[in-house]
């Protein structure tokens, strides 16, 4: 093949692009100019809106309570693409920690997007605006476990782009969210097809961040089907790409995933190496909270596979690191995991001592008194009959739920 016809080469070589384009288009100069003019006008409108919007969404959300947010749909300042882009960003920022708020914002955005006049932007842009809002809504619903509604919303988002082949990048992002929803619905076959199609587009448009994310989603889908060998292969391939592009954070996450695969494949030596690689990279990047989280995740799978000593050592490391970062809630939850292991081993004396420490820590950190009471009742239960692993797990779930509620309320 002539190198000037190779699309990858064309992306890099201006003269070949010119040669490739020559004599193909029978130019209608007037139509072409009109196309350029319309495009430039839309571009300038959108850029101006972005410039003028500043932090309008953050300010307006702050001024009123969450119950009143739907009324913002009538606010003229929010009825444009720039404000909707900010809302999308607000959804992203909240989705993990405050999914209820994320959903409220996504609902607001969807309501605005769907009610914008059809001629506010060119039809292609309108379709993107609407599909993005609906996609965010689907994602927030997914986080809240409302999967049927999430699926409906993502299907509607996809249908908004149905008449626009040119919106392939947007479509791929929708497919990725759809794959995650399908994965949570245990529709693995459909989810795999969806994420594969999305990955191809991300690779072709050079969207490396989403390409990696799609790979992680794919690996996760495989892992959930217990196809750890396949998942490991995907993570290794991605690691090669992340290494060649120098993306350290993705490498750290991939090493962690490889560690999980290795544990499930009974390769404990390999798992420890992968987890260590992950921790080393998170440390180098200064993402210090990720270090104990990696250790905690590793510990849980190791313990689950009967590697109790190794898991316990990692739990203790994680707890120490959480304390050093003043993340007392996480440190306490980590301690409850340790207590569970100690009780399962019959080491009630040490377990009891640790519950006392956790109570002191929770009180000192000013955590919810119900959390303190729950741990105190666990301590009483240990005193009375030694307690069981199940009892500790119940307390852990309770404290974790309190933490989630508190987090959403704050």
């Amino acid at each position: 093949m002539n190198h000037s016809d190779d699309l990858r080469h064309l992306a890099d070589c201006a003269s070949c692009r010119q040669r490739f384009s020559e004599n193909v288009l029978p130019f209608d100069v007037a139509r072409r100019r009109e196309g350029a003019r319309a495009f430039a006008a839309a571009a300038v409108q959108m850029e101006r809106e972005r410039e003028n919007a500043a932090d309008i969404v953050e300010r307006q959300l702050r001024q009123i309570s969450i119950e009143e947010w739907p009324s913002l749909a009538e606010s003229p300042a929010l009825r444009n693409n720039a404000a909707l882009e900010q809302m999308s960003e607000e959804v992203r920022k909240r989705i993990e920690r405050k999914p209820v708020e994320a959903l409220a914002i996504a609902n607001l955005a969807a309501s605005i997007a769907e009610s914008l006049p059809a001629n506010a932007y060119p039809p292609e842009v309108m379709a993107q605006i609407r599909s993005t809002a609906l996609r965010d809504r689907a994602n927030a619903l997914r986080y809240l476990g409302r999967l049927a509604e999430a699926f409906d919303s993502i299907e509607t988002a996809e249908s908004r782009l149905g008449d626009f082949p040119g919106a392939s990048h947007d479509r791929a992002i929708i497919w990725m969210v759809k794959a995650m929803i399908q994965g949570q619905m245990d529709l693995f076959e459909e989810a795999e097809q969806m994420i594969t199609s999305a990955s191809i587009i991300f690779a072709d448009v050079n969207d490396l961040s989403r390409f990696f994310q799609a790979g992680l989603v794919y690996g996760n889908l495989l892992g959930r089907q217990k196809r750890y060998d396949d998942a490991q292969r995907i993570f290794r391939d991605l690691l090669g790409v992340a290494t060649s592009t120098g993306d350290e954070e993705t490498q750290a996450r991939l090493y962690n995933n490889l560690g999980h695969c290795a544990v499930y494949l009974d390769d404990y030596a390999g798992a420890n190496i992968h987890f260590s690689e992950s921790i080393a990279r998170f440390t180098d990047l200064g993402l210090l909270a990720e270090v104990p989280r990696t250790n905690l995740g590793a510990a849980l799978v190791l313990i689950g596979k009967g590697q109790v000593d190794s898991g316990l050592a990692r739990l203790e490391d994680a707890r120490r690191a959480f304390i050093a970062l003043s993340m007392m809630g996480e440190a306490g939850l980590c301690a409850l995991r340790i207590i569970e292991v100690l009780i399962d081993r019959g080491d009630t004396e040490q377990a009891r001592a640790l519950t006392g420490i956790v109570i002191d820590e929770f009180e000192a950190a000013g955590l919810d008194t119900r959390a303190v009471q729950a741990v105190a009742s666990l301590q009483s239960s240990i005193d009375a009959d030694g307690a069981t692993g199940d009892a500790v797990r119940t307390v852990h779930e309770f404290v974790q739920r309190l933490a989630a509620d508190q987090d959403q309320a704050s």
């Binding site: 093949m1 016809d5 699309l7 064309l10 992306a11 020559e22 193909v24 288009l25 029978p26 139509r31 072409r32 196309g35 350029a36 495009f39 430039a40 839309a42 571009a43 300038v44 959108m46 850029e47 960003e89 992203r92 993990e96 292609e124 965010d136 994602n139 626009f164 082949p165 040119g166 919106a167 392939s168 947007d170 479509r171 990725m176 076959e189 459909e190 097809q193 072709d204 448009v205 050079n206 969207d207 989403r210 994310q213 992680l216 690996g219 996760n220 892992g223 959930r224 962690n256 995933n257 999980h260 989280r293 990696t294 995740g297 809630g329 955590l367 974790q400 933490a403 508190q406 987090d407």
Partner: protein, 196 residues
């Protein structure tokens, strides 16, 4: 207190569906710049749609136009313009054909004759295999032919074929495997190939 998500297989998945732009955003607003970008790249995108994917001229221009508009929404996260534009027009063309595969007879073949696709350079090498494939296809039952045509000639996904046939994707997958097995049997049964 933060919640620690540990229940999933992969605890490292973070939601990044809205990726924060990591490239420097050029905030200067200049209509001329956008107009120039459009004019500088329109021919390339139309050429790719027409020459690589044989999209008819009028549709190719429409696709290119859509790709430019799509760029406006994603502009701040695109690192390199040309790879993005080229990737986007390729997928736009594929999507176009998936949507319009029933209209393949409306292809403007005169363009293909005047400006042959460079991919056709190896046609002599590929021809025997293509002929053999066609011969095998024609010897299969009509339903098998239709399914294989939809999948391999028209590029439908398993799901789309399932919708078309009114059956489940899983069943379609099985059906596809059956069609391929049958095609393989026909291929192996041919005397000349058996010898080889």
């Amino acid at each position: 207190v933060n919640v620690i998500a540990t229940e999933t297989f992969d605890p490292t998945i973070v939601d990044m569906t809205a990726v924060v732009p990591d490239c420097v955003v050029d905030c200067s607003i200049d209509e001329l710049d956008f107009g120039r970008m459009y004019e500088d790249n329109l021919s390339l995108l139309v050429a790719i749609a027409m020459r690589k994917f044989q999209v008819p001229e009028a549709d190719a221009e429409g696709l290119a136009h859509e790709v430019f508009y799509s760029y406006l929404k994603r502009k701040n996260e695109i690192r390199d313009l040309h790879p993005w534009l080229i990737g986007a027009i390729c997928h736009a063309s594929r999507y176009f054909w998936r949507q319009n595969s029933r209209r393949t007879e409306q292809l403007d073949h005169s363009w293909a004759t005047l400006l042959p696709d460079p991919a056709s350079a190896a046609i002599l090498d590929l021809l025997p295999a293509q002929l053999a494939a066609r011969e095998i296809l024609e010897s299969l039952p009509p339903r098998y032919q239709e399914i294989l045509r939809l999948r391999y000639y028209e590029g439908y996904s398993i799901r789309e074929i399932a919708d078309y046939l009114g059956v489940t994707a899983k069943y379609t997958q099985k059906l596809m495997a059956k069609c391929l097995r049958r095609a393989e049997q026909v291929y192996n049964a041919a005397p000349a190939r058996k010898k080889s």
